[in-house]
């Protein structure tokens, strides 16, 4: 299912002029989500940047039904929406959980694990800006090794939690990674997931200019470098079958991957990275790809 930009609808269901920061990947992600699926959606959003960028009452940036909910229960609420719709005989509405990394990998992990295990008919999308950006750039379980945040002044000492891997371990029918640097790849995955019944999970890397300390015009560039350096592999796990997608397909060969340094040097959050930290990060990426190679060979 290859998507081209020309076939995406022109209508904006996620309105421009919303109060997001310049270069905001969450706003870009919501725009792509609505272009992928159209009007027949209900979106559940917990406390996160998207709480703010939807605009304050009585205004809204959303031309689709949007239910705000507490931080830790996106998946459970979306499960309730799906159950309610089923009882009402409304079969053509996709129920979307749209949450940040904190609301997914940290405080929301119990609810998402429960919904995944039950197979609730929900498409859950984590837009991952790798820290609690809405509250002012605090460390989350999704923050990468070495990154500065306002609660890790000298750089985080632990690696990022492998949330897509955790979701794949739930044996749900569809898990995918995506990056706002590759919008059509994301749209394809959203469309594919929406066709599948049960619990689906897409983890969208969302480079955040103020949080990662880079200029707002570089969101897409950094989203691409994350993939090209191998820091963020693009893949799908469909009914247990792992498959690299898009540009990541060519990156099993280490020589095809750009050095991690090219990714981190554009971001102020890695400014304090010492040479040994950079080496550690590169080794982490290389080892991750060795594991990917095993999964591809299957």
């Amino acid at each position: 299912m290859v998507v081209t930009i020309k076939e995406l609808p022109r209508e904006e269901l996620w309105l421009p002029g919303n109060p997001s920061c310049p270069g905001c990947p969450a706003s870009l992600g919501l725009k792509l989500l609505t272009k992928a699926l159209g009007k027949k959606i209900i979106v559940v959003i917990p406390a996160c940047c998207s709480t703010i960028i939807q605009g304050p009452f009585p205004k809204t940036s959303a031309k689709f039904p949007l239910l705000n909910i507490a931080f830790e229960c996106t998946a459970a609420t979306a499960a309730g929406v799906a159950a309610g719709l089923e009882m009402k005989g409304k079969k053509d509405i996709a129920v979307i959980g749209w949450a940040g990394d904190g609301g997914t990998v940290d405080i929301g992990i119990q609810a998402i694990s429960g919904a995944a295990e039950r197979g609730d008919n929900v498409l859950y999308i984590c837009y991952d800006n790798e820290a609690y950006m809405n509250t002012g750039i605090q460390r989350s379980g999704a923050t990468p090794y070495g990154a500065w945040t306002t609660t890790t002044w000298t750089g985080k000492r632990e690696h990022k939690k492998d949330m897509p891997g955790i979701m794949a371990a739930h044996k749900i029918p569809y898990v995918a990674t995506a990056s706002v640097g590759y919008p059509l790849d994301f749209v394809e995955k959203v469309r594919k997931a929406a066709q599948i019944k049960g619990f689906k999970y897409i983890h969208l890397l969302a480079p955040c200019p103020p949080g990662w300390r880079f200029p707002p015009e570089k969101t897409v560039e950094i989203g691409r470098l994350a993939v090209q350096t191998g820091m963020w592999p693009l893949y799908e796990v469909e009914n247990g079958v792992f498959r690299l997608t898009g540009p990541s397909k060519a990156l099993l060969d280490k020589s095809k991957r750009k050095p991690v340094e090219e990714y981190v040097k554009l971001q102020g959050r890695f400014r304090g990275l010492k040479p040994e930290d950079l080496k550690k990060l590169q080794e982490y990426v290389d080892q991750m790809w060795e594991e990917i190679a095993k999964r591809v060979k299957g």
Binding site: P65, A79, G80
Partner: protein
């Protein structure tokens, strides 16, 4: 108005089965539940109803009480009739979402099996869990017996879904005293309940892609307070709705409970016992005995803690010589929770108000205790005591190791 002859079959049911039957007769569409003692047999029975095809509902076996309420919120937001049940720690974990359900104005109904809170571990009755929810915006009803549990769940949906209210309702049954004690309960015919409680309306709003709107987004100080004011107005309006619903239920089933409060032998009384939940039955028994001895005693049963029956408290209790408030809860250094509400409503009135904090963690409150409490209050009237005071009643120091 003619009262229909009560229709239905009588079965011997525990309070928990009565709650499950209430939810079934209300034709709930989504059940989201997580087990906790002593609530479990409610959700077991509902699972049985659903799996046998006797109740057409989606049953979400959630991984926590927090998710139970979150799922009920999602289901209710798209127009489904949603139900759950919990107790004690489950309710405390759910607390955040109780605020959310009320603030979102969703007509969810939940049975609470009131149980004390750990540590130390306990599973027995007390009202501290449910009364901890009194400021969330939920209507809070405490049933006295299993029939009222069943009838209360059905009434609760009717009240919650009324456009003048649109707030969720908790229906309380006391742990074990009602939840696991079987007594004869009349199960009304489904047609009777259907006439009383039609399918839920989509008005004033449900989440719908054909009429999209954003629910619950960031609200600056310019608007937030007005939302809370609207909730207050609806809670106030609920007083009338509760009375109407109780009367309509009476016309269809021959049973009514007095609306916000039940007044038992209060007309000529000079002392009233204030109680809520199952112990009100023992209080009535005590009042009967005391009247045989010449004491003019009545029982003022608080059926709804929210909305608070301020007018009834002033009108009925305000004319007493003394009021004995028997609480199964404690707000430390302030007394029982009903006691604090009763005394504030009686501000400027003359009765002596004596609060008794007792029955915590499932300790029995017997008829003899109520008799003793009333006689104690009478001796205080004779001694000319005024004002309000409270005490821990039936504390047994000698049992401690």
């Amino acid at each position: 108005m003619a009262v229909a002859k009560a229709k239905g079959k009588v079965e011997v049911l525990t309070g928990n089965y009565a709650a499950a039957w209430g939810a079934k007769l209300a034709r709930v569409e989504v059940v989201a539940a997580y087990p906790i003692t002593p609530q479990t047999t409610i959700i077991e029975k509902l699972a049985e109803f659903v799996e046998k095809g006797e109740l057409k509902a989606k049953y979400i076996r959630v991984e926590s009480e927090h998710s139970a309420m979150a799922a009920c919120i999602g289901a209710s937001a798209v127009g489904a009739r949603a139900f759950t049940a919990t107790s004690s720690h489950g309710l405390l974990l759910m607390h955040e979402m109780c605020w959310w359900a009320a603030g979102a104005r969703l007509p969810i109904v939940m049975t609470i099996v009131a149980r004390a809170i750990a540590p130390p571990w306990t599973i027995w009755n007390e009202h501290s869990d449910i009364l901890d929810e009194r400021d969330t915006g939920w209507l809070i009803m405490l049933a006295e017996d299993n029939q009222e549990v069943l009838d209360g769940v059905i009434q609760a949906f009717k009240i919650a879904e009324d456009e003048r209210v649109l707030l969720p309702v908790m229906v309380n049954e006391d742990a074990f005293i009602l939840s696991h004690t079987a007594m004869p309960v009349e199960i009304p015919d489904q047609e009777v309940v259907d006439e009383f409680l039609p399918p839920r309306s989509d008005k004033p709003y449900i989440l719908d892609p054909d009429n999209p709107f954003t629910h619950g987004n960031l609200t600056y100080p310019d608007y937030y307070m007005e939302f809370r004011y609207l909730m207050e107005r609806s809670m106030e309006a609920a007083k009338q709705v509760i009375a109407e619903v109780d009367e309509e239920y009476y016309r269809l089933t021959g049973r009514r409970y007095g609306g916000l409060v039940e007044k038992y032998r209060c007309e000529d009384a000079d002392v009233a016992i204030v109680a809520a939940g199952s112990s009100a039955g023992d209080a009535k028994e005590a009042a009967d005995r005391l009247r045989e001895e010449g004491y003019k005693v009545g029982v003022f049963r608080i059926r709804f803690v929210r909305p608070w029956p301020h007018e009834e408290v002033r009108e009925v209790l305000g004319r007493m010589k003394a009021v004995a408030v028997v609480d199964r809860s404690i707000s430390f250094t302030k007394g029982g929770i009903l006691f604090t509400d009763v005394t504030s409503s009686l501000y400027g009135s003359t009765p002596l108000v004596h609060g008794f904090v007792t029955g915590l963690g499932g300790r029995d409150i017997t008829v003899n205790h109520f008799v003793d409490i009333v006689k104690k209050v009478y001796s205080e009237i004779e001694a000319g005591e005024k004002g309000a005071k409270w005490e821990f009643y039936n504390v047994k120091w000698e049992v401690l190791p």
